[in-house]
Symmetry: C2
Subunit: 201 residues, 2 copies
């Protein structure tokens, strides 16, 4: 590991600022409604300069996704891993994703866009991080099913996809927009509906 030059550090700082802006815009408007012009304006540089750092709009979104996946992985490796019960680790991660969403920092990629999905699956860094996170969660899911705390009827795959989907659950945004509940209430309700279900226990 050679120490990065000052010049490289400046470059990295700028790219971080770009990804910050992309992340905010993705969380706020979604991929389709986000324009590269808006990204450039938010960063405060010319659009052409953006394309010196990232080769396409899809690459911008991918970078934002990579960073949020990295944040999730870091949470799993530290705070969540410190919890003894695997179900509690899964709940902690779900709570964390909801907090990120409430903070307006969860980039939401409409699940259907085709050029975007093509670019993402072709992105090695993104796919590697996604697989790594999925494997980590997969182990917890199986452990939680083994110790009887997670429903054994659901395939691990279904649980995994459900957790990913709840990280972008539009219900959270609607409740927040209603403005009559606190963030803490919203999170507890959505966690409850996710893990305990709508039916009474």
């Amino acid at each position: 590991m050679s120490k990065p030059s000052f010049r490289d550090q400046v470059l990295k700082a700028r790219e971080d600022a770009i990804v910050d802006a992309v992340n905010r815009l993705l969380a706020d408007k979604g991929f389709d409604a986000m324009t590269v012009d808006a990204v450039a304006a938010e960063v405060g540089i010319a659009k052409a300069s953006l394309y010196k750092h990232f080769e396409s709009k899809e690459a911008l979104a991918a970078a934002a996704m990579v960073r949020v996946l990295a944040r999730a992985q870091a949470f799993c490796d530290t705070e969540a891993a410190a919890l003894p019960k695997p179900l509690d680790r899964l709940k902690a991660l779900a709570r964390w994703t909801m907090q990120v969403q409430l903070a307006g920092e969860m980039p939401s990629l409409p699940a259907q866009n085709s050029t975007l999905r093509t670019a993402l699956v072709a992105d090695r860094v993104y796919m590697d991080r996604l697989v790594a996170l999925s494997e980590c969660l997969g182990e917890w899911i199986e452990a939680a099913q083994a110790d009887g705390s997670l429903s054994p009827r659901l395939p691990a795959e279904v649980v995994l996809y459900t957790l990913f989907a709840r990280a972008c659950d539009p219900v959270l945004g609607v409740l927040k927009a209603g403005a009559s509940y606190t963030d803490a209430e919203i999170i507890e309700w959505l966690l409850s509906s996710c893990f305990d279900g709508l039916a009474a226990r």
Copy 2:
């Protein structure tokens, strides 16, 4: 009620065909990726002719939403209403929405598009149907909480929004794309995760 003229019937049939196409395209690609050209091509008429029937792309989407809301209302008024327990009525509706989604007939409107949402809330027919359906479901939700079958901790509003959100749950599409499960399995798992939760009972 005067009998509609033959001419009006032909007109209505054409508009139904248009809404059919819009519905398919919305379910397949979503609002942003759907182009008016594609709608015209699928119906087999010129784009300009479309605009004689609907004044904008947003109006096309609204018409598709109105129709699916009407279908949902019809299901509630007949099959679901025939069930004695309110919780079973809610489950029946959730199952129905998942079947519609699996059939590729559930128009999905990315929750964030601004021009679209503006047009929808300004659409009296759409809003009236949405309110009517919500009131119907709201009564069932309160009844289910009153008889102890639905979790009393969740506000009725949260349950209602969750049911709407699950009608477009992306998890279903992902599982179907995986192609290793039957439609019936997918529906049962998602119903279970929605009403019983991920945690073991």
